[in-house]
């Protein structure tokens, strides 16, 4: 509702937005396109009891995986944790609750949250391994699983460029789930390599419209 002022804040200010116990959604895929410096800042702040929602558990000593290794996470909604043995170990020890979804379904659930669709129906056989019985419905004589949308209190994404309004452009495969996460959170913070004045990005090439982005931090603007 404010006039178009810059959404740029410091890493420290951004970390203040991450409170204990919140649902934190994150971009990145196998550690690539991950807001690593912002995650370091969140770690430094000492946040705990997080519920994480994102594609994978990253690596034990990098990015989102660090939050797991340092036991700041009580629950994860994800698809793959094989690259972070710490996550599997904590899961088996009962320290970390992990809810698995097939990857393509997880990203559609996040997108549904991002565009305000309450749920999607998926074919049975998809995710039966991890789905609960109550998700099963029959519609027009066919069986489906109901997969509710996913949203979060805060979403953190990585992009190559932003303008001061928050329009985002990604870089190659660092795009991955970032544009979906950017839409799905109540408050979205983008860690970017570069910030340019509004009007300098090609409107045709913008992937995430700035209206979805609340705050921007610069990768080199923090302690990372």
């Amino acid at each position: 509702m404010a006039a178009m002022v810059s959404k740029l804040i410091t890493m420290e200010e951004a970390a203040e937005l991450i409170q204990d116990g919140i649902r934190l959604m994150y971009g990145g895929f196998g550690g690539m396109g991950s807001p690593d410096h912002l995650i370091d800042q969140i770690l430094d702040k000492g946040v705990r009891d997080l519920t994480l929602i994102g594609n994978d558990a990253g690596f034990s000593n990098r990015g989102i995986g660090k939050l797991i290794t340092q036991e700041r996470v009580k629950k994860m909604l994800t698809t793959h944790i094989g690259s972070n043995p710490q996550a599997g170990r904590q899961m088996m020890e009962g320290k970390l609750e992990v809810i698995f979804f097939p990857q393509g379904i997880l990203v559609e659930k996040i997108r549904a949250g991002g565009v305000g669709i309450p749920a999607i129906l998926v074919e049975p056989g998809m995710g039966d391994v991890t789905a609960k019985k109550e998700q099963l419905i029959v519609y027009a004589g066919e069986k489906y699983l109901v997969e509710p949308a996913l949203t979060a209190d805060v979403g953190i994404v990585y992009a190559k460029q932003a303008d001061t309004y928050g329009n985002l452009i990604y870089e190659k495969a660092a795009r991955n789930v970032n544009p979906l996460v950017a839409m799905a959170a109540q408050t979205t913070i983008a860690e970017v390599e570069e910030i340019v004045p509004v009007g300098e990005l090609d409107p045709e090439s913008i992937v995430t419209p700035g209206i979805f982005v609340d705050y921007i931090v610069l990768t080199r603007g923090g302690n990372g």
């Binding site: 404010a2 006039a3 178009m4 002022v5 565009v115 305000g116 839409m183 409107p203 419209p209 209206i211």
Partner: protein, 220 residues
């Protein structure tokens, strides 16, 4: 009554006063399309168009129209600094996520409870349900801009809509060439009477009880 361009512009100018700097605003088809022309550019109001634009700018000067740059109403537009293009599914994502501060739209009828009818006149004309049904549900404020009377000079603001509804209890404010009316829990609240109309001319041409503001503004 079909409004001339002066009356349409008068409504649009009054409507612009409901917008504040930095807001995200959807402009529907018809009179709403004129609203953007009454706002200072430096307010950085981001106009949203469901065909896939955020940051619609003013109407281009004649001869400068871009064949690929029209709003959802089919009128040529320009873009504002910070604009982006995307597909319509993302445009409605913004709508459903509650990112629009105000949605302006036209109507065939509005009831005292804020019910909206704007998609069909049975047996005569079919418009279609369009995007209105989602805009009126999710925008923070819904303002109808329309003529006070229909083509047969009958009131369009009424106790109950006689036309099929687009959505129930969704309109927050009505701006016509005659009046500014707020839809409240207690009923329709007449906030302003537009020049040169009189209070009586508004009351007799409105088919629903009006609560008259104590601070009624008579001229705009």
């Amino acid at each position: 009554m079909v409004l001339d361009i002066n009356h349409r512009n008068m409504i649009a100018r009054r409507a612009a006063r409901e917008i504040y700097p930095g807001m995200a605003v959807n402009l529907g088809i018809g009179i709403p399309e004129l609203v953007a022309d009454f706002l200072p550019t430096e307010w950085n109001v981001m106009f949203h168009s469901v065909n896939g634009i955020l940051g619609v700018g003013p109407t281009p000067t004649k001869g400068e129209e871009d064949v690929h740059l029209f709003n959802a109403g089919g009128a040529p537009v320009t873009i504002h600094s910070g604009a982006s293009f995307f597909d319509s599914s993302i445009a409605y994502g913004m709508v459903r996520r509650g990112m629009l501060d105000v949605a302006f739209l036209g109507a065939l009828q509005v009831s005292r409870k804020g019910d909206l009818a704007n998609w069909i006149v049975p047996g005569q004309r079919v418009y279609g349900i369009g995007g209105g049904v989602e805009l009126v549900r999710y925008a923070k404020k819904v303002i109808v801009l329309m003529s006070h009377l229909n083509e047969r000079d009958e009131p369009k603001i009424c106790r109950e809509c006689t036309l099929p509804l687009t959505a129930k209890s969704c309109v927050d404010m009505i701006i016509t060439e005659r009046a500014v009316i707020e839809v409240t829990e207690g009923g329709l609240y007449l906030a302003e009477v537009m020049y040169p109309f009189t209070l009586e001319e508004v009351i007799t041409k409105t088919d629903a009880p009006l609560i008259i503001s104590e601070n009624l503004q008579m001229y705009d």
